[in-house]
């Protein structure tokens, strides 16, 4: 190859590379990965409205930058869609990460570390988030995502039933004993059945007794923790009220059950569809914090939907701005609170009440009380097989709850089994 030809080739290549880079910079395009449907299986249609509002604001703030997203991806397809994007090198710059995918993408190095961006950003104050919501974006010591919306578990009660039974409404700092006493009082077997609580799971009891079932990354489990054993024992005594008949959801809808545990999103969904339309709801609702165990507090579990930035994003600063807008902007967050499935991840104490009042009224919940619940909530583990871990534990605990199995022995065996499962 002559020198001239080599030089020519070099020039052409440089020009082509320059052109490609130049085109990329001329009109920055941020890609956003969103799915429809919330983490809590609640169908709602206003979600794109939220996203579109956020994008419109973002594009206003950053002229020359476009934000694109693919609409119509369902939650169940989202994981595969995101994987395909990652595989073909076209991962969005900012994207929601499902809990089950969170750890995987971290270990694959696909998520940008946000600590630096957070430190450099003077606007974002970590303290304005609910702690559990903010922690949801962290794995180990590294911040990989920011929360966008969350949903906490609450103890809902049948106001009508309690009134009928002449039971005073418990206060927000009620305990397991209060809870158990009420359940025992309302439970009636035979003829006109009546039950205490639906769907109060042992893991909720553990959370409100200060016990942790599994760590966040799914590497350790703590079934031998006495607080957890206490929670299991409490559940067993609760489940054995009456004739030990497992309470169904229908029992609650039929107005035969005093309490049920549900997250806010599920509750909100029921406010709209289909139950209201069908007129099945013939009683008044109310929401309470979870009852406190002897070693814990009125602690709920908080599920948080987080969004991350692509590690190889060409526009990290812009991506951070977009993510911040979705996560930290009061306007956007208030829209989420109002219309979308979850609730805001920001503490509303400092907000202008106008931003949340309507939503709270519609929810028929005390917004500030809800905010306090969320402030105290603990985050749920975020690893791919958390569901399976719980399934294993549930299966092994059935003989404890409904049979004669020894609690300590079962939990000891469970500790070994789950640990082996987690390590595999």
């Amino acid at each position: 190859m002559s020198a001239r030809r080599a030089a020519l080739l070099l020039t052409v290549v440089c020009l082509a590379a320059g052109l490609l880079l130049g085109l990329e910079h001329e009109d920055a395009v941020l890609r956003l990965g969103v799915y429809v449907g919330s983490d809590w299986d609640a169908p709602y249609s206003d979600y794109y409205e939220v996203v579109d509002t956020a994008i419109a604001r973002f594009e206003e703030m950053h002229p020359g930058v476009r934000v694109e997203y693919v609409s119509g991806i369902r939650q169940e397809d989202y994981s595969e869609w995101l994987a395909a994007q990652a595989l073909t090198g076209s991962m969005p710059d900012v994207f929601f990460v499902l809990d089950a995918d969170f750890q995987r993408y971290i270990s694959m190095g696909a998520l940008a570390r946000l600590d630096g961006l957070l430190v450099a950003d003077r606007e974002v104050e970590q303290g304005k988030y609910y702690p559990a919501a903010f922690e949801a974006g962290r794995m180990g010591d590294v911040l990989y995502a920011l929360p966008v919306q969350c949903s906490t578990t609450l103890m809902f009660y049948n106001r009508s039933l309690l009134a009928r039974e002449g039971i005073a409404l418990p206060g927000p700092d009620w305990t397991w004993d209060d809870f158990y006493t009420i359940c025992k009082r309302v439970t009636r077997a035979g003829g006109s059945e009546q039950y205490g609580c639906y769907d109060y799971r042992w893991e909720y009891a553990a959370a409100s007794n200060g016990a942790l079932v599994v760590d966040k990354a799914g590497t350790e489990c703590y079934f031998e923790d006495p607080r957890l054993e206490e929670a299991v024992r409490f559940c067993r005594s609760l489940y054995r009220l009456g004739d030990g008949h497992p309470v169904s959801e229908q029992d609650f809808f039929d107005g035969r059950t005093a309490f049920r545990v549900m997250n806010v999103t599920g509750y909100r969904m029921m406010q709209y569809y289909p139950f209201r339309l069908l007129g099945q709801q013939n009683f008044e609702w109310g929401g309470l914090p979870m009852p406190a165990g002897p070693h814990g507090g009125n602690v709920s579990c908080l599920e948080t939907q987080v969004a991350a930035i692509r590690a190889r994003s060409m526009h990290k600063a812009l991506a951070w701005e977009l993510l911040k807008l979705l996560s930290y902007d009061q306007q956007v967050q208030s829209v989420l609170y109002e219309g979308a499935g979850g609730t805001t991840v920001l503490r509303i104490d400092e907000w202008d009440p106008a931003l949340y009042e309507d939503a709270a009224v519609e929810l028929r919940l005390d917004a500030l009380q809800l905010s306090r619940v969320m402030d105290q909530a603990v985050e749920l583990p975020k690893y791919e097989t958390y569901g399976q871990t719980l399934a294993i534990a549930n299966e092994r605990l059935q003989p404890v709850f409904y049979g004669d199995a020894d609690v300590s022995a079962t939990l000891m065996a469970l500790q070994r089994e789950v640990l082996a499962y987690l390590k595999s």
Partner: protein, 454 residues
């Protein structure tokens, strides 16, 4: 730089093959990634790998561009006459591009390292730099071992992409890759073998040249001995010529004069006396000639200019033989080199000797004049000439002398005998002033006699 044709061709083949392999690998990865994504198995695929692959669809283009740049840089290094600094920079650029290319290829292909090693090994001449270079290449080559590098740098290997395919297709792709890599390895080995063969050939060549040099030296020594012998023979010939030219001439004159004396002795003793006196002169002159010849053999010319020498010879011959000799000469006006003057003198002397001895001439005309760039020497006699003319020693000798000066000699036997010589003289009077500018101050009217001395 000495490069064998085969080696160049092998290197070209290796470059081409590497391009094919890079295209094959990166396109297989790109296409497979696309197919996995389209078939909805991306998440399942991620269960098998540890890292999000790096833009597999853009990789082929990037890899090819980097590869071509690298090949271009190596081509520039190879060109002759590249300054050392630039050559080093280009080598550094090549290595940089190599590392970049390997990163783009996710270290999954080491063949390019072999290519660069084969191309650049020639440029590391000292043993030390060569060792460093080979060491570096070995490290890079080892780095491309997926199992080793994936511990440090998580990545998706070519094999992992093949999980997508059924066994047959996967095997086909994998064996294609392996065959291509094997061919590449083979080419590399061939190049290295070629290189070492070439080295040993060069070594042998040096040895052979050395031997040939020794032989040539011996030949030159033999030649020197022979040429010494030749010089001896030449000297003997010269002696023979001198004897023939000088003593022969004189003796011819004396014998002719004595013949005349014998005819005259009865009629006119007075004239015989006269004649004998002349003959005595001639014999003395002959003696002088002999002395001169001896002088000439001693390479000491007599202290006469050529013009004087010729005039004297004519005078002596006329006196000795009684033959009427006329002389027409420009020798006074020109300058001759020693060899030229000598030749002129010998031509005149030999021709006159021949005319008297063989032609029995009674009259001889000698004319020396300039004809353009030539000096023409003509000796004509009115003797009997000769019918069947054959060149004697003297004539052949004359011809040889004339030829040495780049001239020509013709003889004609018609109304007597004519010798006509044309000499190519190195004129210095008009055209070639510059050659002898040191003498330009000398009086042109008085011919310098140094060069004309006999």
């Amino acid at each position: 730089m000495y490069e064998k044709k085969t080696q160049r061709m092998l290197l070209k083949m290796m470059s081409g093959l590497n391009l094919v392999i890079i295209l094959f690998l990166s396109m297989t990865i790109g296409v497979t990634a696309g197919r996995i994504a389209e078939s909805g198995q991306a998440r399942a695929f991620f269960d098998q790998v540890d890292v999000v692959p790096n833009a597999p669809r853009a990789a082929p283009l990037l890899a090819v561009v980097l590869f071509l740049l690298m090949v271009g840089a190596m081509a520039l290094v190879r060109r002759e006459g590249v300054p050392l600094l630039r050559q080093r920079l280009l080598v550094a650029l090549t290595l940089f591009l190599l590392v970049a290319l390997m990163i783009v290829l996710r270290m999954s292909y080491a063949g390019v390292v072999l290519l660069v090693a084969a191309e650049l090994l020639v440029f590391f001449e000292s043993r030390q730099t060569q060792t460093i270079f080979i060491g570096g290449m070995t490290v890079l080559f080892l780095c491309s071992d997926y199992d080793l590098i994936s511990l440090q740098l998580p990545m998706v290997s070519f094999q992992e992409y093949l999980f997508y395919y059924n066994t047959n297709t996967a095997n086909l792709l994998l064996s294609t890759k392996n065959v291509l890599i094997s061919i590449n390895m083979l080419l590399f080995i061939m190049i290295i073998v070629q290189m070492s063969l070439q080295r040993s050939a060069e070594h042998e060549k040096v040895i052979r040249l050395n031997r040939e040099l020794g032989e040539a030296n011996q030949r030159i020594m033999a030649y020197a001995i022979e040429s010494e012998r030749n010089a001896l023979v030449q000297e003997r010939n010269r002696l023979a010529r001198e004897i023939h030219d000088s003593i022969g001439h004189t003796l011819t004159g004396i014998s002719a004069g004595l013949d005349a004396c014998m005819t005259l002795v009865d009629h006119s003793p007075e004239r015989v006396k006269q004649q004998l006196a002349v003959l005595a002169d001639v014999s003395r002159s002959g003696l002088r000639d002999v002395r001169r010849s001896v002088h000439a053999l001693e390479a000491e010319p007599e202290d006469l200019t050529i013009a004087e020498a010729v005039r004297k010879m004519v005078r002596d011959s006329q006196a000795a033989s009684g033959v009427q000799i006329t002389l027409e000469s420009v020798l006074d006006e020109i300058e001759l080199q020693m060899d030229e003057a000598d030749t002129v003198y010998r031509i005149v002397q030999e021709s006159m000797t021949n005319a008297i001895k063989h032609g029995h001439a009674t009259g001889i005309h000698v004319r020396i004049k300039r004809q353009g760039r030539w000096l023409a020497v003509l000796v004509h006699d009115n003797g009997i000439g000769c019918e069947a003319f054959h060149k004697g020693f003297g004539l052949r000798h004359m011809e040889k002398r004339v030829a040495l000066l780049g001239g020509s000699l013709r003889v004609k036997s018609l109304w007597g005998f004519t010798v006509r010589a044309r000499l190519n003289i190195r004129w210095r009077d008009e055209n070639d002033q510059g050659i002898d500018s040191g003498r330009s101050g000398a009086d042109p009217a008085e011919p310098a006699n140094r060069t004309e001395r006999m």
